[in-house]
């Protein structure tokens, strides 16, 4: 089984939009991977005219909310950064207990990369003095914001379409459904304090993913 990777289209979001956008995307992905008995829940976004579907599991909701909160607080410390959130689905493979390791191995079979570019609310053009902020016509600013909002709504819809397409096209790598398991176990990785650490996390994950070429 190989690990399928999907890079989602980058979205330009403002800080107050992150929560809704992330929840929408993450829940949509998990909904397509919650193959146990579920009762879907339709959720309307407040900021956009988009309805997405949740799988209805409370643990999933908690997990996603927790990660989104962590991400938002990370973004507050690292503004104006392009960031990536990785949603990975794994299978739990209990490694044979050996003298060295006794831990449970995770076999990642799918990874989704959500690319966000968080904009800051300040609208002053780069290079001008801060006095120029006052010059900006409030009407223009609101027009600009609404057009950006419309663009983001379209982009978000495209991302959701992208998810559906990917989910449709690649089905073979999905592990079989186990009895009693509602959703495929997943983890969400948000950027950590430094880029290098993020890269290290990725490297660690590759090691743990049990890629056939690496582990034989």
């Amino acid at each position: 089984m190989n690990c399928e990777v999907c890079q989602l289209k980058e979205l330009e979001v403002e800080s107050f939009e992150i929560r809704e956008v992330l929840r929408c995307i993450l829940h949509t992905i998990v909904f397509h991977r919650a193959l146990g008995l579920i009762r879907p829940k339709d959720i309307d976004l407040e900021l956009f005219e988009i309805t997405y579907v949740q799988c209805g599991e409370i643990e999933v909701e908690k997990k996603i909310d927790e990660k989104v909160d962590q991400f938002i607080s990370w973004i507050e410390k690292h503004p104006n950064k392009k960031s990536q959130i990785c949603l990975s689905f794994y299978e739990v493979k209990s490694k044979q207990p050996s003298w060295f390791t006794n831990k449970i191995e995770r076999l990642y079979w799918e990874q989704w990369y959500i690319n966000l570019n968080v904009l800051q609310p300040t609208k002053a053009p780069v290079g001008k003095s801060h006095h120029s902020k006052l010059v900006m016509d409030p009407g223009e600013a609101s027009e600009e914001r609404s057009s950006r909002r419309t663009l983001l709504e379209q982009s978000l819809q495209e991302v959701l379409f992208q998810i559906i397409k990917f989910v449709n096209e690649k089905k073979d790598h999905v592990p079989p459904i186990n009895d009693g398991v509602i959703y495929c176990p997943f983890e969400i990785t948000i950027p950590s304090s430094s880029d290098s650490a993020f890269g290290m996390d990725m490297f660690k994950r590759i090691l743990h993913s049990g890629h056939p070429s690496m582990l034989g």
Binding site: T28, F31, H32, L35, G36, L37, I38, R39, P40, D42, E49, I50, T51, Y52, V53, G56, E57, I58, Q157, L160, F161, I163, I164, V167, N168, E169, K171, V174, P176, I177
Partner: protein, 617 residues
């Protein structure tokens, strides 16, 4: 159909089951998300199930047929069951057409002299879902060799249905169906469906604007399950947004816009005006507190332009332009007071989410379809219990109220809550030293904020009449209407001055109430059910019949100061009944204000002298 022979027989049976159950499931998903009549039922059922099952899905409370593809949808409507039984042969394709019924005007021919545009209904296919099981005529040798276990096939078909479910929410038709299902008015739009085995060729111009999305087929040996959707990506041609009316939303914290009258304070729920049936039914202008109609900054999600109705003769409150939303009214103002108009100018000062927080009971409870055009179906009034509870919660915000904060008792449903709203509001305003115009304005605002049953505009009429007699009267009818609300403990009591030194007023109110209620209840046809209607109607009635009291003002004042309060109230009550519709002018209102001021001073002095004030609850 011949399934591969190398498959175990139980697998063959299961594969066939998967295919045969796929069709009704897909049909259920599509219709549930598109047809408003099927939507509400499904959602209700879901709510019941989720509430009963508690956390997580319990296998016991889910029907076996609903567990297919691990997607619990709720009960299938009867229509779907019939369709399921119709689709027997899995080799037949299932084509679901989602058709938008919309009004269209016929172009008058040149021969017609009269420019008569016929509005007819047209049907346009906005979506076409095709689900079919493609069975190759010749089985390829490869498929016969591979042992395709049914579990894999089932898993893939589950994923396919998940994506189909998500896709139904993403396509433009979903928003249309949501708009239609939440809209109460018969806007001329509707979504209907047609299921067939053979597809009619879609007309040329239609297909050009349609996009197609194909779901990846799932191999179910010997064939494969396919699904696709052809949809119109752009539905703006139908002008849905402007035509589909949204249900009236009751604004419980309706307050005037500061732009129109900065001096005014209106913590009044606009919805009090909505759908209230007054005693004099003839000729009341329709009022609506629906935030949907008003393009104010605090409304969210509703962008319908407010409909302008011809304003009644404005004898009072010239500062307010009356805006009435279309529909929800078969009432026409017989009085030319500034009723209702003020409320439309008001903006909620405190509720952070004015409209969203509004309980939408009107949409839920309003079974008759409300036509947006004037003079059509009446609006059912939200239950007094829910309304009053909401209203009372607003009143517990002292910071927003320049008047003294009401005690917790004041928000309870009490007999005195309905009493003398006009008079006491005026009393309060005058005490706070507002300007006369502001006072007038506050009076309606007070009334609105305190009691949903009363209209802001009414107070102008009240003010214009003589003060003291009306003071007593206004209380009585309100008390009368309160009979219907006696069982509602949360009714707000805007004029319950427990914490204010108007104990004298309260005392007189309680006396008035007891005496006047019986007489008024017999005279006014107030039904038990429409308590809020009754309350407002009674108030209007009282206000309108106030003029005769002006002549008896001196006697009324005297009697008020005396012990025989009840008698005076009864007298004035009977007098007011005869003068139901009378025009009021600003000068009348001012005069009444003066009278009220006098009465207030009188009562203050009385209360100070310790005239046996009792706390009224």
């Amino acid at each position: 159909m011949d399934f591969p022979e190398n498959l175990p027989s139980e697998d063959v049976g299961r594969l066939e089951q998967i295919v045969s159950h796929f069709f009704p499931k897909a049909l259920h998903i599509v219709l549930n998300s598109r047809i408003p009549s099927l939507q509400s039922r499904g959602r209700t059922r879901e709510r019941c199930l989720s509430s009963s099952s508690g956390a997580g899905l319990n296998n016991n409370n889910v029907r076996k047929s609903d567990k297919w593809f691990n997607l619990v949808m709720g009960d299938r409507p009867a229509a779907l069951e019939k369709l399921h039984s119709w689709h027997r042969n899995i080799l037949d394709s299932m084509i679901i057409d989602i058709i938008l019924v919309h009004p269209t005007t016929t172009i008058p021919t040149h021969d017609d002299d009269h420019h008569h545009h016929d509005v007819r209904s047209a049907e346009t296919v906005i979506e076409r879902w095709v689900v079919q099981y493609e069975n190759p005529l010749i089985m390829s040798p490869q498929s016969s060799e591979s042992v395709t276990r049914y579990q894999k096939v089932y898993k893939k078909s589950i994923i396919m249905l998940r994506s189909l479910y998500a896709q139904t929410r993403l396509l433009p038709a979903y928003r249309v169906s949501r708009q239609l299902s939440s809209s109460l008015a018969s806007s001329g739009y509707d979504l209907v469906y047609k299921v067939s085995s053979f597809s009619d060729i879609l007309s040329g111009p239609v297909t050009e604007t349609m996009k197609e999305f194909r779901f990846a087929p799932v191999d179910v040996p010997p064939g494969r399950l396919c699904a696709s959707v052809t949809y119109r990506s752009d539905l703006s041609d139908f002008n849905l947004d402007t035509h589909i009316t949204l249900p009236p939303r009751i604004i419980t914290d309706y307050v005037g816009s500061p732009a129109t009258d900065p001096m005014r304070f209106f913590p009044s729920p606009g919805k009090s005006i909505e759908g209230t049936s007054f005693i004099g039914r003839a000729g009341r202008p329709p009022l609506t507190g629906s935030s949907a109609e008003r393009p104010h900054s605090w409304t969210s999600g509703f962008h319908r332009p407010p409909a302008q109705f011809p304003t009644p003769n404005q004898s009072f409150s010239p500062a307010h332009s009356h805006q009435f939303s279309p529909g929800l009214h078969d009432f026409h103002w017989s009085r030319t007071d500034g009723f209702g108009g003020d409320s439309h100018q008001l903006s909620p000062p405190f509720s952070p989410s004015g409209s969203p927080s509004t309980p939408r009971y009107i949409s839920g409870s309003n079974s008759p379809r409300i036509n947006v055009r004037p003079g059509t179906a009446p609006v059912t009034i939200p239950s007094s219990a829910t309304f009053n509870r909401y209203v009372s919660s607003n009143f517990s915000e002292p910071s927003r109220n320049p008047l003294p904060p009401f005690s917790p008792k004041s928000t309870r449903r009490s007999p005195s809550s309905q009493d003398s709203l006009p008079g006491i509001a005026l009393y309060r305003s005058s005490r706070s030293g507002e300007s006369p115009s502001g006072l007038m304005n506050q009076y309606p605002a007070q009334k609105l904020s305190k009691d949903s049953k009363y209209d802001s505009g009414r107070f102008s009429g009240l003010l214009s009449s003589s003060g003291s007699p009306r003071f007593g009267f206004s209380r009585s009818p309100s008390r009368l209407s309160s009979q219907d609300d006696l069982d509602d403990p949360d009714c707000s009591c805007p004029f319950d001055f427990d914490d204010v030194d108007e104990s004298g007023l309260q005392y007189s109110q309680s006396l008035d109430r007891r005496k006047a209620s019986s007489s008024i209840s017999q005279s006014l046809p107030i039904g038990r059910k429409s308590s809020q209607d009754a309350a407002v109607g009674v108030l209007v009635h009282m206000l309108k019949t106030a003029p005769p009291l002006r002549q008896d003002s001196s006697t009324y004042m005297a009697s008020m100061s005396g012990v025989q309060r009840e008698g005076s109230v009864s007298v004035s009550v009977s007098g007011t009944e005869s003068e139901f519709s009378m025009a009021r002018s600003t000068s009348d209102a001012l005069e009444e204000l003066r009278n009220y001021k006098q009465l207030k001073d009188l009562l203050l002095s009385k209360s100070k002298s310790g005239s046996g004030a009792t706390r009224v609850h």
